[in-house]
Amino acid sequence: MTKEIERSGIPIVQVTNLSKIAEGIGPNRIFRGNSVLHVFGDPSLPRENELEYRKNAVMQALKMLKIVPKEGKSIVKEIA
């Protein structure tokens, strides 16, 4: 799905823990999510902190939309 959305000219970040699968298929921007089971979550954190965690992760994923990847390569980032 990601590649079709890219093909239409809309920038997209795919957020997944399984970045290796994504890398094989080749979308240009991959952000590694926490876990397959809770991509944008961290259940080990207390509720209030989890929203802060999620906000931080989403911000970093969004920032990737402005990056131009090097020729032929995908950008893969993890939450910092």
Partner: protein, 350 residues
């Protein structure tokens, strides 16, 4: 005397010398000799092969009547009992590309003889037929015709001699090429050990599943500041409203859906469920925002980090679903996004 391979070549009205658009509706005809690019092709075979027949057809005639015309082409090819079929090359010509792809695939599948064509990546024929037959990569114009013909010749000779062909990335063809014929009457472990021992002893073997050569799409970049951008959320984790009003399936998805998040500050667990069989959805059921991060996005809008959040999210179950379906979902979603002026997307995958 070494046997010459018999080749049937397919070309359109233009390469056949009949004209351009004006003759695009011309009926199929056969000349029992090489025509147009076929002349160069035969020369390059250097005595190893001869073009015993060239099938010429108008692009409109065939592209508008694939169901009737393609079988006709196959019938005609069969009559000549060839060792090899070559289509085009078609480069970026859309209708010609459909014709090349469709005929090459049909010949490969029906007559089970070596068949190959050559098209540009964005030719619609490439997309549709790249997993049904060999479509060699070309540029988007016919400038390097000679180079492409040379590659067709080299590849063809390997095909007819039974040489094992590797994956698309290595060999320069799109997708995964023709589907491998599998004999299910031989149990898998017997086939596996045969393959393993061949590989171990450096003998030729053929994999039953070819890794697909996925095309690289040029990267769109967000051309406005994030603070002005309208973002949409998409997921393949199968999140749907409680009660599953559209009967979304848990595997082998047939469609995607969009659901409104208008006025919602966050997704409440009591309002949602997961229709996706491939992962333990307990954490997402506890807090759906872990999959579709509406709460975080709303905060970011409030803080001015992004312009706005689209008031629907898109969902499907991305498990055990064919690539072709996934592609059509992507196309469908992209269309809606463009229609609503969406600037960028976050897609969460499980």
């Amino acid at each position: 005397m070494v046997k010459k391979y018999r080749v049937v070549h397919y070309i359109n009205q233009f390469y056949g010398g009949y004209g351009g658009e004006d003759t695009a509706g011309m009926a199929m005809l056969v000349k029992e000799k090489p025509v147009g690019p076929g002349l160069e092709l035969e020369k390059m075979f250097d005595g190893k092969a001869e073009i015993v027949a060239t099938i010429i057809c108008g692009d409109n005639k065939i592209a508008e009547n694939l169901e009737t015309m393609v079988p006709k082409v196959v019938e005609t090819v069969k009559k000549y009992n060839p060792d090899l079929f070559i289509g085009g090359p078609g480069f970026n010509a859309g209708r010609y590309g459909m014709a090349c792809g469709a005929t090459t695939a049909a010949v490969a599948e029906t007559l089970k003889i070596p068949a190959v064509t050559a098209l540009f990546a964005e030719n619609p024929g490439t997309d549709i037929y790249k997993d049904s037959c060999y479509i060699l990569e070309t540029e988007n114009n016919a400038r390097n015709m000679k180079e492409v013909l040379k590659r067709l010749v080299t590849f063809s000779l390997r095909l007819v001699s039974g040489e094992p062909i590797g994956d698309g990335k290595k060999e320069g063809y799109h997708g995964s090429g023709p589907a491998v014929e599998i004999d299910y009457s031989v149990p898998a472990p017997k086939r596996a050990l045969k393959m393993l021992l061949a590989k171990y002893y450096n003998k030729p073997f053929r994999t039953e599943v070819v890794m697909p050569n996925h095309e690289k799409i040029p990267t769109p970049v967000l051309d406005k500041p994030l603070s002005e951008a309208k973002i949409a959320l998409v997921t393949d984790g199968g999140l749907v409203p409680k009660g599953n009003p559209d009967n979304m399936v848990v595997t082998n998805s047939t469609c995607f859906k969009s659901y409104s998040i208008k006025g919602k500050d966050r997704l409440k667990p009591e309002d949602y469920e997961v229709r996706h069989q491939g992962y333990n959805n307990a954490y997402v059921l506890e807090d759906p925002n872990r999959l579709v991060p509406v709460d975080a996005m709303r905060v970011l809008v409030k803080e001015g980090f992004i312009g706005s959040l689209f008031d629907s999210y898109f969902t499907t179950a991305g498990v055990m679903t064919g690539m072709d379906k996934c592609k059509s979902f992507g196309e469908g979603i992209a269309k809606i996004l463009k229609g609503n002026g969406i600037d960028a997307v976050i897609l969460t995958s499980t």
